[in-house]
Symmetry: C2
Subunit: 134 residues, 2 copies
DNA sequence: ATATGGGGTTCCCATGATGGGAAGGTCAAG
DNA sequence: CTTGACCTTCCCATCATGGGAACCCCATAT
């Protein structure tokens, strides 16, 4: 009765590319789905749900290994929220650190660029900074 | 009189790893340095200066292809600062966009984490978000 | 029936910037 | 002559993702 959910269907409903679905299977992030006689993969509602979970975790920037852990906690009804929170907090710190690094670069460049007249003369504080400052 | 500057010396004075110096040469970002009879690379002061330039540009997050362009402008005494500025402004926009994306993730997660009691109970808004929200 | 098109499958290669490490050559000092 | 510290080239790994080849399967249009 329920139509076979192909990898394309799974991809479209979850927003995870077919390429990545196969990849997640190959690295053991998701378990291998059922196959038809033709060796075509088909996905259960549970599979789809799990792919949706992965998609949302990726959208929040979690690395695959974190997601592996989060999936295990998700499946474990006796999990402690403390463990989930710890993963999230570490990730938040990582995101903040990376964002701060990018912003520092941006701020430096903005300062240099604001002092660069940007005309056809060669003088340029940006080039000067790369040239001279250590 | 000037002692031979080996790749290690160049690495130590510029902060670019020997590995990366060879890599930059292999992709044509820097030109091949002189070699001793033993095929050991040795670097001129100009080479060192150029590696320092690359190092600073990398520290500001410029991708290699931008640096290739910046190096060309640097060497060109008749450059227009407008061209340098344009590269910098594009890069600033890129940095800002990436930083904003990371901050958005962080903000979402901070919100979820702040509502997560983080004890030994399983209930957790972080998991709920990954589970349910689309 | 058969051609066409659009799925599926596996496998290899590429990205960007960087590092690890193997296998082998060279050189100075003990 | 060995030891150790360099150098050389070459291959492989990271992280998440996509491109594309070569091939199989099936439904529909001619």
């Amino acid at each position: 009765m329920s139509e076979l959910v192909t990898i394309r269907d799974a991809s479209m409903t979850t927003g995870v590319s077919a390429k990545m679905i196969r990849h997640y299977e190959s690295i053991g992030l998701i378990s291998a789905p059922a196959r038809t006689e033709n060796r075509y993969r088909h996905y259960s509602q549970r599979d789809i749900h799990e792919l949706g979970f992965i998609r949302k975790a990726r959208d929040l920037g979690f690395p695959i290994e974190d997601i592996r852990h989060l999936l295990a906690l998700w499946r474990d009804r006796s999990r402690s929220s403390a463990e989930v929170k710890a993963i999230a907090l570490r990730h938040i710190a990582d995101l903040d650190e990376k964002a701060a690094a990018l912003q520092a670069m941006s701020a430096t460049l903005k300062h240099l660029a604001s002092n660069c007249h940007g005309d056809n003369r060669p003088d340029c504080p940006i080039i000067d900074a790369l040239d001279r400052l250590g």
